[in-house]
Structure formats: structure tokens, C-alpha cells
């Protein structure tokens, strides 16, 4: 408890050290910055273990001694004062915050180590690590704060850091746009969050969560206020956690470096929204309407994002929509009252999603030099293929993470997903349960679609190189031109997968550069330039974190085995502990859905018994809607162009004409105009003044005589 505050403080210290000292050290700055940041986060993780050990003892005592068993320790630290009104920077330690603290420090540490390899050679390497430190500091502060004001500050800091990191390669316009989109979209939710806090402050006179929750539970706030504040705070969580109408920023956030995506999608940023719901749960639980809204939004999000993920080509976009969908599961679980299950999924998801992103980063990192200069995206799963043998560590860890995400026994995702499904079933929420099952099937399908396309089958990047050469793109000089020339003319090798005929519906201009539609390809070409331009396993700084996180992607679920070994549910629960028994219906159906999804992916993309093209062609409209993400971006663009900008133009006109011209300029011009007329009174002639003087005296005398007749009377 006493050391918990040191974790964010250390990371913040690393950030300030890096931006003040490290940047001055010339060539050393990159190494120094990385070393300081990683040292800080590793120390943070070590401190987490200390805190964890201490808290186990203290929280154990607390729960033994008090009947309510709140599992809560908190300190009020005076923060600042306005007049005589004190504000506290309250820090809390309960199992929720300890769990999050562990996830954040562990994943941040490993992702930063991984970044040494991934970001190697970037000329703003030092700045990357500085911001990563600030990110970890902000997230730890958010997790520890027990005061809405402090939480809001950390919340915005997290938003700022994600903005800086998504736009890390800001010299490319798309990346800068994506960063802006993330910032603005989350801001929409944050406004709601802020209003919610303000309402609570006005009603209770405090930002302290303990007091607010006590009053909510005592019922001293009107139900309307509680519902309004709950929904407004949920708006903030929707923005950060990419829930349904505000999800648009999350897939675009892929513009950042892949380690950033991994961090953003697992431990920080998106986790903040779910964490906020869990933290403010007394407020949500007090209003059935709020919980209903939460459950509805979560359910919509989970199926909606999963369907989009079915058709994406970019491996990171698939993972991004998968994150949105999994966040939908968590929010849905919290909405139907399965508090423990929601947080359990947050916990396990953090590991396997970080692992998936780091694995995808590893693939992209190795494919990037191969496809460099061809205009083909190294993120595109249709240019991968056959990577299983070339990148065994990446393949196996990615596979395990995908199995975990698909909810396959006995990986981590199985336990948490089935806890959610069981929770929904237990709460009698049939619709979320059924949608959750369907989504489990879809999840397994799209993950294994990506795996079969990326890691199995024949390599397809030679085809990409051939296309690029034929289309006149610059090809890396390592590739012999003669080889490619033959590659472009020879007939296709047997079994080579033609990208265009496999999924014709995916031939979208934005992703596939112009070129001949059907192209023969030459796998022999790869043998010639094998040594340097072929994908290879990533260096150990990248592979090691994969393996370490992999252990948790398998085992993180084993702390929540119902009825057998379930310390998670004992520690983290709202009200009374959750039911101990496993729900066989939910678990069985969930597992079946996952296996069916994998099976379908296998027959479509591994052993082609069912052509994806045929499926896409039979439902062209649906395919187009999914591929274009339900046209959400276009709808928002239209909304901005036609509604927001129209209102803005109206406001601008009002400002210019009324406020600026009318109020400011005219008040200035009025005295000038008056003066221009009045100045002619000043003739400069003596008699004018003398005349005015005489008139003045006569008038003054008349007034005096009228007002003070007694003076005149006595005088005589």
C-alpha cells in the first residue's frame, strides 16, 4: 500500500528524465531513454509484487475483521485547495486495482522490451520510450485513483499519450489523421464523463468516490440523478473502450507502431473504459436503466465488431475489431451484472490480445523489408502465407493466443468467455447470451482465417513482388530483376493461391494497387533472393516477450476455474461472491461455437472445400457492408460535413457579424463617430467660450437660487 504510488511516480520520473536529460545527450539519447524507461517499468513491476504481497496480507485482515468485506484500502492525500475547499488525490488498493496494476506493469514492461527490437533504428526512438513511460504512469495513476477528479486527469493523460503514440509517425498524413480521430472521438465520450462527474460534484459536493458511493447506496441521491450520472460516465467509457457508436477510432489507431497497438488494446487505454465501469460500479448497479444501457451497448458492439472483422484484409485491423468485440463482451458482462466475469475477461484478454498484436508486429516487422517499396502493405494477410516454418516462435505464440481468444479449453480465454456467457445465462439475459455465442463462433472463424492465410499454405509475397514489378513499382535492389521478369511471365506454380480469385470481393482499390487482375506467380523466385529479402524470425528481444506473455495467455485463466480454484472470483466481486459452479451449458456451447468457427475457417482457407469467393459472391451486399465497416466512417464524415460544419459555419457567422462587428467594433466606433461630430463645438474663438461661460453662470445662478432659496433670503 505504502509503495503503490511509487509505481506511477517512477514512470513519470522516467518520462521527465527522458525529455529533460536524455534528449540532451546526443547519440546516447536513444539507448539512455530506453534504459531509463525500461528500468522504471521493471522497478514498477517489482514494486507491484511487493504491493501485491502486502495487500494480500492487509486485505485478508480487512476482510476477516469486517463483515462487509469491502476489500478496500485507501489513502486520502491532500492535493490542492480552492479557497478553503480541499481536494484529495485519493489512491485506492483493492483487488480490482491490484489486478490492473499487475497487468499494466507486466505488459508495459514486456512491450517496452519488445519495442527495442521493433523500433530499432527509428530516429525518434528516445521519444517513443519517453511517451511509453508517461503512458504507463498515466494508466497506473488511473487505476489507483479513488477520486473522480484525479481519475479524470489520468484519463485525459492516457488519451494524450495514445494520441502521441498513434501519431508517432506523424509525417504520414494518414497516421496524423488517425491520431486526431482517436483524440476527438474519445473526447466526445469524455465530455459526457466530465458532465457526469460535475453532476455528482454538484449533488454531493465531493469528488471522493467513497463518499459518492456511500450516498448512492444510502439512497440520498434521486434515482434520476444516479441514472443520468451513470449513463454520462458510461459515455466516457464508451469513448475509451471503443463501444458501438464511438468505436471508429480504435481500428484507425492501428496507424501507430505495433507495440503501441499491443499496449493500447490490452492493458491501457481501452481497458480504462471497462475499468471505469467496474470502479464506478456502485453507481451503475444503483440504476437498472444504466445497467440496461451498458448491456445493450456491449451486446451491439460485440456482434457488430466481430462481423466487420470477418472480411478485413489488414491483420492489425482484424485484431482491432476483435478487440472492440471482446470489449463488447466485457461491457455486456458488466451490464448484465456479471461483474467478476467482465473483469476476468479484461484480465485474460489483456494477455492474449497483447500477444496477438506483438505476434502480428513480429510478422509485419519481418515482412516489411520484403515488401518494401512495392506499395504492398506488409499488414495484408493476403500477401503472407506459409510463415509457419519461417517464424516458428511467432507462429506458435500467435496460435496459442488465437486459441485463447477463440475460447478453446484450456486456454485463458475459455475460462473468461464462458464465465461471461454463464453470467449472462445466469442473469436470464437470453439475447446477450445468444449473441455472445454467435460472436464466439465468429471470433474463432476470423482469427483462424487470419492464421490459415498468414501462416499456412504457400507463400504469397513473391506474388506481391511480381505484381509490383509488373506494375512498375520500385522493387528492392536485392531482388534480381531477371528473376522477377521470369516470375511475371511463367505460368503459375501448382497450388499457388491466386489472391484475386480467392476472394474477388476484396479487390478494393484502396488496398490492391492497380495492376493486371490475374497474375501468375513464381515461388521459385524466392529461392534466388532468399537470404535477405525473406521473412525471418524476429530477434530475441522481440521473441522473448512473446514467449513470456504466452505463458500467461495459457495460464491466466487458471486463477478463475469455478468450483476448483477460483481466487479471482473470491477477490474480485461486487456484493456477494459469484456462483462457484461452472455452467456446463454455457461452457459447452461456447466451446462448441469456437470449434465450429475454427472448423469453418479450416475448410474455407486451409483445405479449400468451400470457396470464400463463392460465399462472398452469394451475399455481395452483405459482404460490401462488412468490408466497409457498415459505412460508419462515411456516415460520420457526412455528419461532420453536413451537420457539424453547417452549425460551425452558422456559429462563425454569428461570431463574425454579431459579436465581432456588432459588439466589439461598434462600441469602439461609436465614441469616434460622436467625437467627429462634437469636435465642431470647439471653435477656438474666445467669444464662443466666453459666451458658453456666461450662459453657464446664468444657468448655475438660476439653479442655485431655485434650489437654495434660503441662502438668497438670508443674504438680503
Amino acid at each position: 500500500m505504502d509503495y503503490a504510488w511509487l509505481i506511477p511516480a517512477l514512470c513519470a520520473g522516467a518520462f521527465f528524465f527522458n525529455i529533460i536529460v536524455s534528449r540532451q545527450t546526443g547519440r546516447l539519447k536513444h539507448g539512455l531513454s530506453a534504459a531509463v524507461s525500461i528500468a522504471a517499468i521493471l522497478a514498477g513491476f517489482a514494486l507491484f509484487i511487493v504491493v501485491f504481497a502486502g495487500a494480500t496480507e492487509q486485505l485478508g485482515e480487512a476482510s476477516a475483521s469486517t463483515e462487509s468485506a469491502q476489500h478496500l484500502l485507501f489513502d486520502r492525500v491532500p492535493w490542492f485547495q480552492v479557497g478553503s475547499y480541499p481536494f484529495f488525490g485519493t489512491m485506492v488498493l483493492d483487488w480490482v486495482s491490484i489486478m490492473m496494476l499487475g497487468v499494466v506493469t507486466f505488459l508495459s514492461a514486456l512491450i517496452q522490451i519488445y519495442s527495442i527490437g521493433y523500433m530499432h533504428g527509428d530516429n525518434r526512438f528516445w521519444w517513443f520510450f519517453a511517451v511509453m513511460s508517461l503512458f504507463a504512469a498515466a494508466m497506473c495513476t488511473l487505476v489507483l485513483s479513488y477520486n473522480f477528479l484525479l481519475l479524470y486527469m489520468a484519463w485525459e493523460l492516457v488519451g494524450l499519450c495514445s494520441y502521441l503514440l498513434i501519431g508517432f509517425w506523424y509525417h504520414e498524413r494518414d497516421n496524423a489523421e488517425a491520431a486526431k480521430k482517436a483524440f476527438v472521438t474519445t473526447r466526445v465520450g469524455d465530455v459526457g464523463f466530465f458532465i457526469g462527474i460535475a453532476i455528482l460534484f454538484v449533488q454531493t459536493g465531493t469528488f471522493q468516490m467513497d463518499e459518492i458511493f456511500r450516498r448512492v447506496q444510502l439512497g440520498s441521491l434521486s434515482p434520476g440523478i444516479v441514472t443520468a450520472a451513470g449513463i454520462l460516465i458510461f459515455l466516457g467509457a464508451m469513448g475509451k473502450s471503443g463501444q458501438f457508436p464511438l468505436h471508429v477510432w480504435l481500428p484507425d489507431a492501428m496507424a501507430g507502431p505495433t507495440p503501441v497497438s499491443a499496449l493500447l488494446h490490452s492493458a491501457t487505454m481501452v481497458a480504462a473504459g471497462v475499468y471505469l465501469i467496474a470502479r464506478a460500479y456502485p453507481l451503475f448497479a444503483a440504476s437498472p436503466i444504466t445497467l440496461g444501457v451498458v448491456a445493450t451497448i456491449g451486446t451491439i458492439t460485440l456482434i457488430f465488431a466481430a462481423t466487420i472483422a470477418l472480411t478485413q484484409r489488414d491483420i492489425k485491423k482484424i485484431l482491432a475489431y476483435s478487440t472492440v468485440s471482446q470489449l463488447g463482451y466485457m461491457v455486456m458482462a458488466l451490464g448484465v451484472g456479471a461483474y467478476t466475469a467482465g473483469l476476468f475477461h479484461l484480465f485474460t484478454h489483456a494477455f492474449f490480445k497483447a500477444l496477438l498484436f506483438l505476434g502480428a508486429g513480429s510478422v509485419i516487422h519481418s515482412l516489411e523489408p520484403v515488401l518494401h517499396g512495392t506499395g504492398k502493405s506488409p499488414n495484408d494477410i493476403f500477401w503472407m502465407g506459409g510463415l509457419r516454418k519461417r517464424m516458428p516462435v511467432t507462429f506458435w505464440t500467435f496460435l496459442i493466443a488465437a486459441l485463447s481468444l477463440a475460447g478453446i479449453f484450456p486456454f485463458a480465454g475459455f475460462w473468461s468467455k464462458d464465465a461471461i456467457l454463464g453470467g449472462a445465462l445466469g442473469a436470464g439475459a437470453w439475447l446477450p447470451f445468444i449473441i455472445g455465442l454467435i460472436t464466439a463462433f465468429l471470433t474463432a472463424f476470423y482469427m483462424f482465417r487470419a492464421i490459415f492465410l498468414a501462416f499456412f499454405g504457400e507463400p504469397r509475397w513473391p506474388a506481391a513482388l511480381g505484381q509490383a514489378a509488373a506494375a512498375g513499382h520500385a522493387v528492392p535492389e536485392l531482388v534480381a530483376p531477371g528473376v522477377l521478369a521470369t516470375a511475371a511471365t511463367e505460368p503459375a506454380a501448382a497450388g499457388a493461391m491466386d489472391v484475386q480469385t480467392r476472394e474477388p470481393g476484396e479487390d478494393v482499390p484502396a488496398h490492391v494497387p492497380a495492376g493486371p487482375q490475374s497474375r501468375p506467380e513464381q515461388t521459385a523466385a524466392e529461392e534466388h533472393h532468399a537470404h535477405q529479402t525473406l521473412p525471418h524470425e524476429s530477434p530475441w528481444v522481440m521473441a522473448l516477450p512473446l514467449v513470456l506473455i504466452c505463458v500467461l495467455a495459457i495460464g491466466a485463466g487458471w486463477v478463475g476455474i469455478p468450483g476448483l480454484f477460483n481466487p479471482f472470483a473470491e477477490a474480485i466481486h461486487f456484493g456477494s461472491p459469484a456462483e462457484e459452479a461452472i455452467n456446463p451449458v454455457a461452457a459447452g456451447l461456447g466451446l462448441l461455437a469456437g470449434l465450429l468457427g475454427i472448423g469453418l475457417a479450416a475448410i474455407m482457407y486451409w483445405k479449400p472445400l468451400l470457396s470464400p469467393a463463392a460465399v462472398a459472391n452469394s451475399l455481395p451486399g452483405a459482404y460490401r457492408w462488412l468490408y466497409n465497416k457498415y459505412y460508419f466512417d462515411e456516415a460520420y464524415q457526412w455528419l461532420i460535413d453536413h451537420v457539424v460544419l453547417a452549425i460551425s459555419a452558422l456559429m462563425a457567422t454569428f461570431d463574425r457579424k454579431v459579436v465581432n462587428d456588432g459588439m466589439v467594433d461598434h462600441t469602439g466606433q461609436a465614441p469616434v463617430g460622436l467625437g467627429a461630430r462634437l469636435r465642431y463645438l470647439e471653435t477656438g474663438r474666445v467669444y464662443t467660450y466666453a459666451f458658453a461661460f456666461v450662459i453657464g453662470i446664468v444657468v448655475a445662478g438660476a439653479i442655485l437660487a431655485g434650489i437654495f432659496p434660503s441662502i438668497t433670503a438670508n443674504f438680503w
Binding site: R679, Y680, E682, G684, R685, V686, Y687, A690, F691, V694
Partner: protein
Amino acid sequence: MVPLEHILIFSAAMFCIGLYGVMARRNAVLVLMSIELMLNAVAINLVAFAGRLDPQRFAGIIFAIFVITVAAAELGLGLAIVLRVYRMRTTVDVDEIDLMRW
């Protein structure tokens, strides 16, 4: 003794002549002389009232002496200004001295 009314009428007439001079004359020296006339009319009033209303004390008479003193100082200053203006603009016509105009 001369009745008070006669003195008041006399001084009022003198004041009005002075006022007319200030308003109508264009020669700065004559304007100054007219101002003197007005001041002297006031002084006459003061002396007249002093004798009637407050014979024991001499407040009114002292006031009159003050007026004469101040008038002398003012006239000295005024004539000096007129002299400077004449040097600068070769005229003492007040209508043409309109530097303070808009």
C-alpha cells in the same frame, strides 16, 4: 449716503459693459480691458455691501483689495501672452488666434 440700489445698478451696468466688451471686441487688448471693467464692477459691489451689511469688519473691503491684486497679476500675464502672440502672428485679433480649434 448714496442708496445701495444706485451703486448696484451702477456696478451691474459696468459689469454688462465689460461683458459686452469681452464678447464683442476682437482686439485682445480691449478684451483684457473689458475684463478689468468686469472685475472692478465686482469690486464696487463688494465695497458697497461691506459698508452696509458689516460695518464693524472689513471682509468686503479686503476682498476688493484681493480682487485688485489678482486683477493686476492677471493683466500682467494676459498682456505678456498678447505680446507673445503679436510677435508670433503679427496680430492681436482674437478671431484669428484659433490654434486651439479642432
